[in-house]
Symmetry: C2
Amino acid sequence: MSNAPTQQVNRLDRRKARTRAALIRAAQSLIAEGRTSVPILEITQAADVGMGSFYNHFETKEQLFDAAVEAALDAYGQLLDRVTAGIEDPAEVFASSFRLTGRLHRREPELSRVLLSNALRLLSADNGLAPRARRDIAAAVDAGRFTVEDLDVAVTMTAGALIALGQLLHDQPSRDMEATTDRVTEDLLRMFGMTRRQAQRICSLPLPDLDAAGNSGPAA
Amino acid sequence: MSNAPTQQVNRLDRRKARTRAALIRAAQSLIAEGRTSVPILEITQAADVGMGSFYNHFETKEQLFDAAVEAALDAYGQLLDRVTAGIEDPAEVFASSFRLTGRLHRREPELSRVLLSNALRLLSADNGLAPRARRDIAAAVDAGRFTVEDLDVAVTMTAGALIALGQLLHDQPSRDMEATTDRVTEDLLRMFGMTRRQAQRICSLPLPDLDAAGNSGPAA
């Protein structure tokens, strides 16, 4: 007897979660297309949900777009965590994550545009990538691999470098993406106290395969 | 006899230049206040010029705002050129310019907001600051002070660091602005191949006085 209401609640929760996910997917597409000024009605139509259900989840359009950016960055951060889970050297974990993220600017231009159009938010410490960079840099410091006196500055420089790299790769379409990304990563490692030789070695190691991880990882 | 038409043209030119300057000043104030969505009529009223003269100078509001940002950055770049003109070591010229610009984020919050709200444009090489950074880094490379293999990457990292620093200083109002700016500058110098000791020395030198230069410089 007591089971039925619980099941009803769960069904309702699941439907609400589906509606929220559909709104967030629609918002992510609009951000990627640079069309964040569309009316809410167009968002709910793209998400195939009723206009009224928008306000069950979000107070404003800005709130939805914020949630959409956060979800995209968080999903990508979880993917990075999976593909770097087997790497022992924390300096290499940091370098691999940065090298993979730099390559995203051309491999995943939509996610790159989300990153760049939210550049200032990326620099603040509350999204899916900055806390991960902080964790990885701190681990490399603890292991004696990096010499960093101000962790906030190190995270900030990493985010600034990522945004700057993305803009450079968009501005110069013929530029070698892999060589440029690896050079910026080397620069960061040298800034974090590694020698040029150490930095070059770490940035020439083979990279994990994001696609394979994306298809077979636990979140798939 | 041939003088009169020339004078008329000059008078007309001067009036046009005044109108354009008034529109640009009004646009700069609106950018600093974050109010770039105001109608054109409000801009022309703030500039105290007729609605019609707007279209003698700009096709769209975006074109005016672009010109306003460019003018602000260029005026600031000229100021930097004046105050660093007497410095012989090109590495110190670069470091002084960056240290002064970092300090602007709190000393001149309006200009800082212009910088940050145009972060992506700042990263591309056609504004008033990026070409100057490129010139200064190239001079330091020529003088054997910096070791930089890819000038575009070095300029990009400088711009990324500047934006990231600004955001960090706004996010953490109690953070020591001068110490943080000097640390970021040191990090850049180390990235450009200087030793930690060289970088620390250059970043502890006394800085030129922007205010004095701004009031007595040739453009004042």
